[in-house]
């Protein structure tokens, strides 16, 4: 796909230069890019069109992931698209099989007509049936499933098996592409509209006279609180400002516009105030397979304080943030250090910056990480756009949730 390359390179560059940041934006743009990739892909007439398509997507995906490894949403979306491709393929095959078998069953008198479908051996049928019915797992998502050729790719539910089978490669490939593109479109819509199902859960958590604490700014949390306010629940919010980006100020302003009583506090005051807080609700950058949360810096401190005071710690996140990877040394490996100028003014401290010890290492280091890792045992509840899952056993529940989320495509 030579004509796709500029688009892809463009996006890769944006990711590398951190022009695009934030799970939501990244996820959306990745999905759109992959949709274009799929639509531009020239489907060969070979047997494994789905596999070829998946390969193309995978190649692009690897480039994107390498551009910014910390944006885990990219990888999530790529995996989702691959899964879509396989699913569409399977469902097309299954419908074809279904149609065939229905035809076989219902049209007994047409036995003779269907005799010319010997290609559907029992084994192949069984294999496809298995694939269709198997719950999605990481293995099924990522492996290649051999696609039987010449299977009718009727996706319509009419079950009309006549005349659709063997309609020719052209129409089948077009069907596959069309379905995949439609499904990716659904995925994009789901990413955009992840806030509604989450916000619907707000009334189950927020009742009357609640005091809620949050840190920084998460759009999901904002929508969550808006929904609670709509339903006339009474609550107050303490917003920790979230240095050094101070996004807490933005959230406070937005909340106040809706009439929520908000108090802005410094991050250092979180421990002091948390004794009077009923619930901590925060957003996340990514949720790992063990239930650990990659969140804006400072969140681990809040989670520890919440645990100390037995305050529930609730993480709200769209399903595009669920990542099937396990974190290893996440504070260092899944983190990004930003410029020290956020913390220290270069001009003021220029005299200190010049010192160095004999072995050449500078006397003054400034550390400005962007993310923090919250271990799963500190989280009481995850809320995603699938129904509430209680993270009782951290990784199992989260993984299950991921599977369900992906499987609901």
């Amino acid at each position: 796909m030579p004509d796709m390359q500029p688009l892809v390179s463009d996006f890769v560059l944006k990711l590398k230069r951190r022009k695009v940041e934030g799970s939501h934006a990244v996820a959306r743009q990745t999905a759109e890019l992959l949709r274009s990739v799929v639509s531009q892909h020239r489907m060969g007439s070979s047997a494994n069109q789905a596999a070829a398509l998946a390969d193309a997507v995978r190649a692009v995906g690897e480039q994107l992931i390498a551009a910014n490894p910390i944006e885990l949403a990219v990888g999530n979306i790529v995996r989702r698209v691959l899964h879509i491709i396989k699913e569409e393929d399977i469902s097309a095959t299954a419908v074809g099989i279904e149609g065939l078998s229905v035809a076989v069953d219902s049209d007994d008198e047409y036995d003779s007509e269907h005799d010319d479908r010997p290609a559907l051996s029992a084994a192949v049928l069984a294999a496809h049936a298995r694939n269709a019915l198997r719950a999605p797992s990481l293995q099924t998502l990522l492996e290649d499933i051999p696609v039987s050729p010449a299977i009718s790719l009727t996706a319509s539910s009419t079950g009309d098996s006549d005349g659709k089978s063997k309609s020719g490669d052209k129409s089948s490939t077009r069907k596959l592409k069309h379905d995949v593109i439609a499904a990716i479109g659904d995925l994009i819509d789901e990413i955009d509209s992840c806030y509604e199902p989450i916000s619907e859960q707000a009334v189950e958590l927020i009742h009357q006279n609640e005091v809620i604490l949050t840190l920084g700014r998460s759009r999901t949390v904002k929508e969550f609180l808006y929904a609670a306010k709509e339903k006339k629940r009474s609550f107050r919010v303490f917003v920790a400002e979230g240095a050094p980006r101070y996004q807490g100020h933005v959230l406070a302003k937005e909340l106040v516009e809706k009439g929520v009583q908000t108090t802005v506090i410094t991050d250092s005051a979180v421990f002091a105030m948390i004794s009077r807080v009923n619930m901590v609700i925060v957003g996340a950058h990514a949720i790992m397979a063990n239930g650990g949360v990659i969140a804006p810096v400072g969140m681990n401190m809040v989670a520890l304080a919440a645990q100390r005071h037995a305050v529930p710690f609730v993480v709200v996140a769209g399903s595009h943030k669920l990542c099937p990877l396990y974190p290893h040394n996440p504070e260092v490996l899944l983190n990004e250090l930003k410029s020290p100028s956020d913390l220290l003014d270069f001009g003021e401290f220029s005299d200190c910056m010049n010192f160095s010890t004999q072995d050449g290492s500078p006397l003054l280091n400034v550390v400005n990480p962007t993310f923090d890792y919250v271990p799963p045992k500190l989280v009481s509840l995850f809320i995603t756009d699938t129904p509430i899952d209680v993270a009782l056993f951290g990784e199992i529940a989260c993984w299950f949730n991921y599977c369900r989320a992906v499987g609901n495509q």
């Binding site: 400002e241 979230g242 240095a243 050094p244 101070y246 100020h249 933005v250 406070a252 302003k253 106040v256 009439g259 929520v260 009583q261 908000t262 108090t263 802005v264 506090i265 410094t266 991050d267 250092s268 005051a269 979180v270 421990f271 002091a272 105030m273 004794s275 009077r276 810096v297 400072g298 681990n300 401190m301 520890l304 304080a305 100390r308 504070e331 983190n335 020290p340 913390l343 220290l344 003014d345 003021e348 401290f349 200190c352 010192f355 010890t357 290492s361 500078p362 006397l363 003054l364 280091n365 400034v366 550390v367 400005n368 990480p369 923090d372 890792y373």
Partner: protein, 602 residues
């Protein structure tokens, strides 16, 4: 202890040995070491402590009726029951001669139960113990005038019968109503409120005196600023015109919050009205208000130096007694300083000390002698309790620093800087992580100092503490005060740092001078705190684009909270390093109880 208790007597020249040594004694210990831990009164032993250092003292259990007590009312005060030794102690109590005695302020007012061997006390130069709650409980009520009469009589008797060499400072009886800061005083509830002792004492002096005789001294409830009448009353006396801040956070209505930036110009214009306030005190107040001086030790020292000058320039008006008038003046200065910025706990302790010394001035002193005695008291306090204490703390703390350590500190505690300097001079190889936070960015000053000395540093902000903690081997924190239940009251954010350190298994060492300890107990950071200027938070550095909260005051739904202090629970603290040595946080009430008396600041 019990100020009301008339000094049992002491006309007999040195018959009853008042003191008995137990446990560690200092090198300058006069003879009676042998008498240590002997419950029986070392009868007829010459009064020990005839010179400078006196050991930890435990009053011998004497029987009251031995002693002729001047002032018969005192007899009635003598409970026949439990504390048999009360009289001897009372002796000490009444020893109002405050000859400027520097080191040895030994006075013993509390009768310990006779047979009870005192626990081994730590090495101490002086100790003063007052207030036996048990004995207090049995005091009959006396009216103020009666008590004063008793006091005067006792003083006279004492002066007459005073034997030399017995330097002891007894707890002055509460002659002046404003002096009722004695913690175990049966008569007065201890005015522990460092927030506004003078204002409170003005208001509460009357109620305090008669009724609370028998109560143990409990810290008096502090002034709560949501009590409208009290606030109005306080305002009447105030020098500074404060206007209440807008948009106050409801949870903190009990704390004062004023609109910042309004007082300074007003005060500056009043600077040249000399009758209001002594200029050096005024200057210190302005420095507090503008934030030029911050940090517990610095504020305390600045305040004391200002008072020293004020005392120097003071002259007793006609027909007034120096001690009372000066005490009143100091109270007015203190209330002015409170209006500028609420007192820190350490400053409150220091003020109590000073007031106590004032009231304990012997009447016989001339004005100049009294003034110089007070000045030397102030110098001694600053020297012993702050400067030398810091040196002791540093010497203890450097033993805890090993090579290749990574030490984390938060904010800018003065004593921590000294520790790092000293360790660096000793040649230890370590590096420092300075954690800082908004809005004051105090850590930047510390950072500069350390880098200038050649210590390699890492600088980060408090949100990144979890990130950096896995590299850290020790955490050193400073404190504004340590409370009786071992909780540490210090700059906001300290609790978060200690919590994260605890979660990562890193030991937390808190360094605090002993004069900052306090008997109070606080459960969380809301009960008592200081509110700073909220506008500082809305102003974001480098941020025109980021100043979203520019007009926050207009919106009634939006509040900004700038807390200054918070409470670190004692289970996060591994060790306290004080000038009494290295202790666990549970030892704080022991220190407060046993070693405070020596300084007569109660």
């Amino acid at each position: 202890m019990d100020i009301r208790r008339p000094p049992p007597r002491s006309s007999s020249g040195g018959v009853e040995p008042r003191f008995r040594q137990v446990g560690f004694v200092t090198s300058a210990e006069p003879g009676p070491a042998a008498a240590a831990s002997v419950p029986a009164p070392p009868a007829a032993a010459s009064p020990p402590a005839s010179d400078g250092l006196s050991p930890v003292m435990i009053p011998p259990p004497l029987i009251p009726d031995h002693l002729p007590v001047p002032g018969h009312a005192s007899e009635s005060l003598m409970p026949s029951s439990p504390p048999p030794a009360s009289s001897s102690r009372i002796d000490a109590v009444s020893d109002l001669d405050d000859d400027d005695n520097d080191d040895v302020d030994v006075s013993w007012a509390r009768p310990p139960p006779p047979a009870l061997p005192e626990p081994n006390k730590r090495d101490l130069t002086e100790t003063k113990n007052e207030g036996n709650p048990a004995s207090v409980a049995q005091k009959p009520k006396l009216s103020k005038a009666e008590r004063r009469a008793i006091q005067e009589a006792q003083r006279a008797a004492k002066a007459a019968a005073k034997e030399s060499g017995l330097k002891s400072t007894a707890k002055a009886s509460d002659v002046s109503t404003k002096m009722s800061k004695q913690p175990k005083a049966g008569k007065a509830k201890k005015d522990v409120t460092q927030v506004n002792p003078p204002v409170a004492s003005d208001k509460k002096a009357d109620e305090r005196l008669p009724d609370k005789d028998r109560k143990k001294d409990v810290p008096q409830p502090r002034m709560q600023y949501d009590d409208v009448q009290r606030v109005v009353k306080a305002k009447k006396h105030s020098v500074v015109n404060q206007s209440e801040a807008q948009n106050r956070v409801a949870l903190f209505r009990h704390l004062p919050q004023y609109a910042h930036g309004t007082q300074l110009p007003d005060l500056e214009s009043k600077f040249f009205q000399p009758d209001l306030m002594h200029p050096s005190v005024y200057k210190v107040g302005l420095q507090y208000l503008s934030g030029d001086i911050s940090g517990g030790n610095a504020r305390c020292i600045a305040m004391f130096l200002a008072f020293r000058e004020a005392i120097n320039d003071y002259s007793t008006p006609a027909e007034k007694i120096l001690s009372r008038d000066l005490a009143a003046k100091i109270s007015s200065y203190v209330s002015f300083l409170i209006e500028c910025r609420p007192l820190s706990i350490s400053m409150g302790n220091a003020i109590r000390f000073l007031k106590n010394r004032i009231t304990n001035l012997p009447l016989a002193l001339s004005e100049s002698e009294a003034k110089s005695s007070l000045q030397s008291d102030i110098d001694r306090f600053i020297n012993e309790k702050i400067i030398v204490a810091d040196k002791v703390i540093v010497s203890h703390a450097v033993t805890k620093i090993r090579d290749d350590d990574v030490l984390l500190t938060y904010g800018s505690p003065s004593v921590i800087e000294m520790i790092f300097d000293h360790a660096h001079e000793l040649g230890k190889k370590f590096r420092v992580v300075v954690v800082d936070s908004r809005p004051n960015h105090e850590g930047q000053g510390l950072l500069r100092q350390l880098v200038a000395k050649g210590i390699s540093c890492t600088y980060t902000h408090i949100n990144a503490v979890s990130y950096i903690m896995h590299e850290v081997t020790r955490v050193f924190l400073g404190a504004s005060s340590v409370l009786s239940n071992g909780t540490v009251y210090s700059r906001v954010g300290t609790a978060s740092v200690a919590m994260v350190a605890h979660a990562f298994g890193v030991p937390v060492l808190v360094c605090c001078e002993a004069y900052k300890f306090h008997e109070r107990v606080q459960l969380d950071s809301i009960c008592f705190n200081e509110l700073g200027d909220p506008d500082v938070i809305s102003r974001v550095p480098r941020g025109e684009s980021l100043s979203h909260l520019k007009n926050w005051a207009e919106n009634e739904n939006l509040h900004i909270l700038n807390l200054k202090y918070d409470i670190t629970p004692s289970d996060y603290v591994s060790m306290l390093i004080t000038d009494y040595g290295m202790l666990p946080p549970t030892s704080v009430p022991v220190i407060v109880r046993e070693y405070r008396r020596e300084h007569v600041w109660i």
